[in-house]
Structures are given as C-alpha cells and as structure tokens.
C-alpha cells in the first residue's frame, strides 16, 4: 500500500496492471512471425534462428539494434507527447526526413563555425520538424482542421520535395549514391560500441526520455497539456488556454522527430540519402502505441521494434525471406495494440 503511493508521487504509475495486454500482443506478434517463417521459408528453422538470435549474436548486431532504436525512441516520445494532448501527429515521416536533411545541409554550410555550427545544425533539424508539425497544429487551432490528415498530407509533400532536392541540387557530385555531401568529421558523434555503429546519440535519446517525463509530470505546462488531452472542456473550464495546446504539443512532437532525424545523421549516416529511414515515422507511432504514451515505456517498446527489424534483416541476409516480413509483424501489433479487449484483460474497475 505504501510503495505504490510513493511511486505515484513521482508519476511512475504501477505498470503491472496494464502490461498483461501488451505482453500478450507481443506474444501474438511473435507467433505470426514464426507462422510466416514456417509458411514462406524453405528453411524455417534457420530463418527463425537468425531472426531471434541474430541481433544478439555479437556486439556488432546488438549495437546496431540499439542504434536503430534511437529514432524510434525520439519518434515514440514525440507521438506520446502529442497524443497526451489529444493531437494526432501522423506526419512523422516528413518531420524526421525534413529534420535530417536540414541538419545535414546546415552542418555542411556552417562547418566553419566549428562545434557551434554542429550544435546549431542539430537545433535546425529539430526546428524544421517542429515547424512542420506546428503548422498542422496551427490549422487545427484556427479552423479545427483535422491534424491527423493535414500532418500526413504535408509529410508526403515534404518527403517528395526532399527526394527531389537530394537527387537534384544537393546531390554530392563525387559519389554515385543519391545522397548529399557528408557532414564534417569533427561534428560526428563518437562511436561507443565498436564495431557497431552505436553512437552517443543513444545517450541523447535516454536524456530525451527523462526530459519528456519530467515535463509531463512535474511542470505546470505538462499538467496543462495532459488536462487538455484528458478533457478539453474541463481544461478550458479551469482556465487553461486550450488553443495553445493545439499547437505547442504538435511543435514539440515534430521537434522530437526532427531531432531524431538529426541524431541519425550525426550518429550513423553522416549524409542524407534518398529515402533512408523510410517507414521510421510510422514505427514511431507503433512504439508510442505499445508504450501507451508513457515516456518511460517508450524505451522497451522501441527496443522491441528495433529487435524485430534487426531480426528481419539478419534473417534476410542468412536465409531466404524478405525484409518486408517485419512490416507484417508490425501490422499485427498495430491491429491489436489499441484493442480495448486486450487492454482490459485481467483488470477490474471498482467504484467507491
């Protein structure tokens, strides 16, 4: 009785009650994975072995898996923040891509400013993402335009425009890849687990989780944001400026995505390639859903998704299946993760 009280004070609600549903969904997803392997592969045993164990075999695979989780953590945080305020940011693809591209170009352009230029470039990445999402938020604030649809549409446009820019005006003339120039060496994040490409960006992701958690549960603005999401009429009734919280959470959300894109560039890719990180936006959404929009839960959820993708990649390399199997497994998760039937398994509500 005493322990939960203390935990609650710090905003960490006892996780057990609702976890059964999440665990069940993960189990079903993995079951489908096994099913697919058995149905499609000539060597299901090998396929599954590489899928489940591949990411964990050695430092290289494991580190890469952690690294892949970084943009998922940022995206998951972004979506969770927006959803807590009742806003649906479906534009993660464009915000991530836009932030990454902007950070790349800024880093290259400001290389003469040294480390400061690097920091400014990362900030620019976050800003671009924030502005994109904030635009949808603004439309919702002024004219009640559905931000889910506008963020999605805008994101599609942004992806196409950046594809054009990377292949056209900003293409690196010295390589055959469809990519921009690389960012200067001194700006790149340090690798922390050789030979994998895990970088210090991972620490950044963890810090972001902490910051978002603290923001939501320990600041007045975070409280207002949550109230707007729980019951907008109530928030207005209490004197909270609900209109502002149609824009601000979207801005934060987009900024987190943009930051994730920038970190991916500075930590892993060092250059913007055409359609790299495709699908990360939606994965961020899935991560947020599994985490039930709780910042602390975003980390295990992101790791789970990174694990699935790493496993798929490993299975693809060593066996005869294709990478898109991961999409199917992710789809299974998506199908079930908002199911009220699953959410209330094993829970009981009482009235006093």
């Amino acid at each position: 009785m005493y322990e939960p009280q203390r935990l609650r004070r710090y905003g960490i609600q006892p996780v057990l009650r609702n976890s059964l549903g999440s665990a069940l969904i993960v189990a079903i997803a993995l079951f489908f994975l096994v099913l697919l392997a058995v149905l499609l592969s000539d060597t299901p045993g090998t396929t599954l072995r590489y899928f489940f164990l591949g990411p964990l075999q050695n430092t290289y695979s494991f580190g890469n898996m952690l690294n892949a989780a970084i943009p998922l953590i940022f995206g998951g945080l972004g979506i969770s923040l927006a959803m807590r305020a009742g806003s649906f940011n479906l534009g993660g693809e464009g915000q991530l891509y836009g932030g990454a591209f902007a950070a790349t170009i800024a880093a290259i352009s400001w290389s003469s400013w040294g480390l400061l230029g690097g920091i400014a470039a990362v900030v620019v990445g976050a800003l671009v993402g924030g502005v994109l999402a904030g635009f949808s938020g603004l439309l919702r604030m002024k004219w009640n335009t559905n931000e889910l649809i506008t963020s999605f549409l805008l994101s599609n446009v942004v992806v196409l425009i950046i594809n054009y820019l990377i292949a056209g005006p900003y293409q690196d003339p010295e390589t055959n890849l469809i990519a921009t120039r690389s960012i200067p060496e001194f700006m790149r994040f340090t690798r922390i687990l050789e030979p994998s490409n895990l970088s210090t960006g991972f620490y950044g992701a963890l810090i972001a989780v902490l910051l978002v958690h603290v923001y939501l549960y320990h600041t007045k603005s975070g409280y207002e944001l949550r109230m707007v999401g729980l019951n907008t009429m109530f928030a207005r009734y209490g004197g909270i400026n609900a209109l502002w919280y149609r824009v601000w959470p979207m801005m934060l959300s987009g900024a987190l995505y943009g930051l994730g894109g920038a970190v991916a560039i500075f930590g892993t890719y060092y250059t913007s390639m055409r359609e790299f990180l495709l699908g990360m936006g939606y994965n961020g959404l899935a991560v947020a859903l599994i985490a039930r929009f709780r910042p602390a839960m975003v980390i295990p959820a992101a790791l789970f998704f990174a694990y699935i993708e790493s496993g798929a990649r490993s299975a693809m390399m060593h066996s005869d299946v294709t990478f898109e199997i991961a999409s199917i497994v992710q789809a299974v998760v998506f199908f079930l993760v908002t199911s009220k039937v699953f959410q209330t398994i094993g829970t009981h509500r009482r009235r006093s």
Partner: protein, 516 residues
C-alpha cells in the same frame, strides 16, 4: 389474482452489476394488471430503471422469472420484448434528428416492397394513422430536429404504438416536460389504458403518482417495498417508503437581510447565434448581491444553459455588459473568468467539471494551478497535502491519487464543490448541483449553499428543479425564451405556487420586472 389475468408478472428478479457488486435488483416481484396504470416509484438508484430494462430485454437478470399474459417467457433482447408486445419510452429521447418522424418510427420495422425497397409513402401513411388515432400534434413528414421536447416524446410513443404494444413502459417521462405538456401526456396515457393497454410509469414525483396511477409499486435500494392501490395510500406514506424516512426539503435558512453590494450585474445582455432565429438571451438585466441566493428557474431550452455558459466564460456576449463588483468583465473567455475570481459548479460534472482519468488531486488544482507552481515547476507535495486536507474537510471517500472516475457521483460532486468553494472570492455559480445525487449528498450541497450565502457570498443558483429553487433562493428569476419573465422578491418566493411558476416558465404570464 392468478398470473393468467396479469399483463406482466415478475418474480424474484435479481440483477447485480459486476463493476459495483451492488444488487441493483434484489429479489424483486412486480405485477401489472391489464388495462391499469402502475407507477413504479423510488429514489434515484432504487433500481426502477434496471427492473424495467430487464423487462424490456435490455438487461439479462441473474435470476428470476417473467410471465407475460400468464405464460413464462425468456426475454433476451429488445426484439423479444417487442414481439411480446412490450414497449419502452426511455428517459433520454432516442431519435435521429436528421430523419423524419416516419423514418424514426419505422426504423427497425420498415415496410418494404419487393423485399428490399423501402416503401416511403406507406411508412408515412402508417405512421400518420397512428398519430391521428391518438390525436398527437405531429406529422409523419416532420423532421425530428424541428420538434419540441414534448413532441419528440410523442414520436417515441408512436414508435411503440406502431409496433402494436400492449404493455408500455415510460421512464421518467415528465422530467423535461412543462406542467401543460405533462397534462397532455397524462390524458394520452389514460386514453391508452382505456383501450386496454397496460402502462408502467417510472417516476419519483409524488404528485404525479397521485394524479395518474391506479396502483403504485415502491422500490428502495434494490428491493420492492410493496404494491398498493393509489387511492388507499397517502403521499406521506409513499415518500416514507421510498426514502425510509420522512422527507422534506427542510432547509433552515437564516433570515434574508436587505441587500448590500451588487457583485454580478448583467445589463441588457443579448446572446445571438448565427443559425438561431431567436436570440438565446435577450434583454437580460439583473444583479446578484452579497449574502443572497439568486435562483434562476426555467424549462430546459429556455436559456438556463446559455446563462450558465455566459457566466462560465464559455459563451461570449453579443451585446450588453457584464460587471463584476463594478469592473467591466463583458469580454472574457474562460481564462480571464478564472483569473477574475470565478467559482463555478457546472451542471455537467463529468464532461465539464472533472477529467475522469485524472487523479482527485489533479482535478482539485485545475483552476488554481498558479498557486502550486514555482518557476514553472509543479509543487507536488504541496498539491498532495492540499488534496488530503480537502478530502478530509469534505469527507470525500477517495484518495488523492485515485482517478476521479472511480468515485461515485456524489463524491465527484464533492470534489467539484471542494475545488470551487476553496477558491471562492465573492461569488459562485451553481448549476443543477444535485442532479443525479442521492438524498444525503443533496443535503450536503444544500447546507453548503446556505452557509456560503451566510458568509456573504453572492450565490447564483441555476436549476430546473423547482423544489430546490424555491427552497434555497432568496430571490427567483424565471427565464423564458431567453429573457426574464418574472423576478420574485423574497416574500413572493415564499408564497408562489408551482402552477404560477409554471405559467411564468411557459411564457403564459409575465411579471412587470421592476426591481433589478
């Protein structure tokens, strides 16, 4: 009388709702004779609606039997009930505004041609037939959105008659009707009974029981207390059996002193909405003074809700001015209203007054967040101590960190009261404060209102509950079609009859509004 002569006989009905573990129905027996009007009486939460939902197939009982026309039946769905000739008119009108009367009535039992094509002319014809047979004031082609509340209820009754029901259940039908509409309804019901139909009327209004019923069945806390011939029982007896004790809205009010300062003043306020032909509020002028309860009475749809929204800052004023202790506060949204010192208990405590998934503590600080913030940082310990203190003072059965949605209605209202009274400065607005509350909680609210008035606050009480208004208010303003049709002084309040109030509320009578 054996079961064969009865229209309906229910024996030993038990219904337990798993979430509450409460016996909503505890071994309940009920009999309904053919051609009679039976009133099912009881307080809120006594189990009347649950029992009727069981009869109507909307709920399955945990045990018990139901006989219709002497034959035992199993009723598992509304369809089953309809097939047995049982119909129910719910408390909240279940109609589709965009559809016509005919469409609403035939929905679910549509006349067809060639098996699939909807026969629109025949629908209208059949529905009009039913309407004419019972002399209702509607037409099959009318769009439901354009009907008045009383007419919408007529549509509900036509819906049931179209399905050839012999047994008709009505759940609190007069809750939203005026006196005159109630009379019209009652004559309809008597006509139906004369035609041989059997009626059950769920109600808790003593006067109506006496006016309309042949017999009355009284329930209390899930149990059936007894069935009685209405002619042989007094209103005192009925209310005693309903409540378990003698009831009276005995509010002890210290005498009213001559008014002092006006705290809230409305000057010729108009509220207009673009798609409404009539102004929602017009020529509204009044003042609420320190140390008084100013009650606003009226029938739903005549401006009570609009007034509440304006006071709460949700709805802007179109023309006119609003003053708070001399300060012009006409153009203010909810934010400025709160910083201006608004204390406001809304009618809808669930949708407006609380956030169900937030904790009690979080609910308590919404309007006074600034006090618990330092440099943007929430002072959680201070918030929790504050919550614990209020929980103690108001005797709220909850803990600071419980989500407020797990509390009962009465306790939720206590949280709302605690929050608003705690931040009260010089005035407070109450809207429908005891809606859906049991006797004990209502008493609590009434005591608080009186004590606030004695402390010198200006209390504005908006309520559609006439008993409440007349018992608590020092002065009463009646809103009809958005303007004040009568403003009663304390002496007049003490003497006015409910019929007179009804006539003001319906606009049949207007008082010269002098004293503002």
């Amino acid at each position: 009388m054996t079961d064969v002569d009865l229209a309906v006989a229910m024996h030993g009905v038990v219904k337990i709702y798993p979430e509450t573990q409460l016996h909503a129905n505890d071994q309940v027996d009920l009999t309904l004779r053919k051609g009679e009007i039976l009133c099912l009486a009881g307080e809120n939460g006594a189990g009347k609606t649950t029992l009727m939902k069981v009869l109507y197939g909307m709920e399955r009982p945990d045990s018990g039997t139901i006989s219709v026309g002497g034959i035992e039946r199993t009723i598992t769905s509304v369809m089953d009930a309809n097939a047995l000739g049982i119909g129910m008119v719910q408390q909240h009108v279940m109609l589709i505004d965009d559809f016509t009367v005919a469409q609403n009535v035939v929905l679910g039992k549509e006349p067809k041609r060639f098996g699939m094509h909807l026969d629109v002319p025949r629908s209208q014809h059949l529905v009009n037939e039913v309407i004419k047979a019972h002399r209702f004031s509607i037409d099959a082609a009318d769009k439901v959105a354009s009907l008045a509340v009383g007419q919408k209820q007529q549509v509900e009754i036509v819906k049931m008659l179209y399905r050839d029901v012999d047994i008709l259940i009505l759940d609190e039908p007069t809750a939203v009707l005026t006196e005159q509409e109630t009379e019209a309804l009652f004559s309809t019901l008597r006509a139906l009974a004369n035609q041989g139909k059997s009626l059950i009327l769920i109600t808790h209004k003593l006067r109506e029981i006496r006016a309309i019923s042949d017999r009355v069945a009284i329930m209390r806390q899930g149990k059936m207390v007894g069935e009685y011939e209405t002619a042989t029982i007094t209103e005192q007896d009925i209310s005693r059996m309903m409540m378990g004790q003698s009831v009276s809205l005995d509010v002890v009010k210290p005498p009213y002193h001559r008014k002092k300062r006006p705290i809230i003043t409305f000057k010729d306020v108009f509220v207009v909405k673009r798609n409404q032909p009539r102004p929602l509020l017009s020529h509204l002028s009044f003042s609420a003074y320190t140390g008084e309860v100013l009650g606003f009475a009226g029938v739903g749809g005549n401006g009570l809700g609009v007034l509440e929204a304006v006071l709460g800052g949700f709805l802007p004023v179109s023309t006119g001015a609003v003053f708070h202790d001399g300060k012009d506060i006409t153009l203010r949204g909810t934010r400025r209203a709160r910083s201006d010192g608004l204390a406001y208990v809304p009618a809808d405590r669930l949708k407006v007054g609380s956030a169900l998934y937030a904790t009690v503590a979080e609910n308590l600080i919404v309007a006074s967040r600034e006090q618990f913030t330092r440099f943007g940082w929430l002072q959680r310990r201070k918030i929790e101590k504050h919550a614990d203190a209020l929980i103690g003072t108001y005797n709220i059965r909850a803990q600071a960190f419980s989500p407020i949605g797990t509390l009962s209605g009465g306790n939720i209202q206590k949280v709302v009261l605690a929050r608003e009274i705690d931040r009260l400065q010089d005035f407070i607005v109450f809207s429908e404060p005891t809606w859906g509350l049991d006797v004990a909680s209502s008493r609590f609210v009434y005591d608080k209102i009186i004590s606030l008035r004695d402390r010198g606050a200006a209390v504005i009480l908006i309520s559609s509950n006439l008993d409440e208004i007349l018992a608590l208010s020092d002065r009463v303003a009646v809103l009809c079609r958005g303007s004040i049709s009568a403003l009663l002084s304390p002496e007049q309040v003490a003497q006015v009859t409910k019929e007179e109030m009804g006539s003001y509320m319906l606009g049949m009578n207007q008082q010269e509004v002098r004293d503002v």
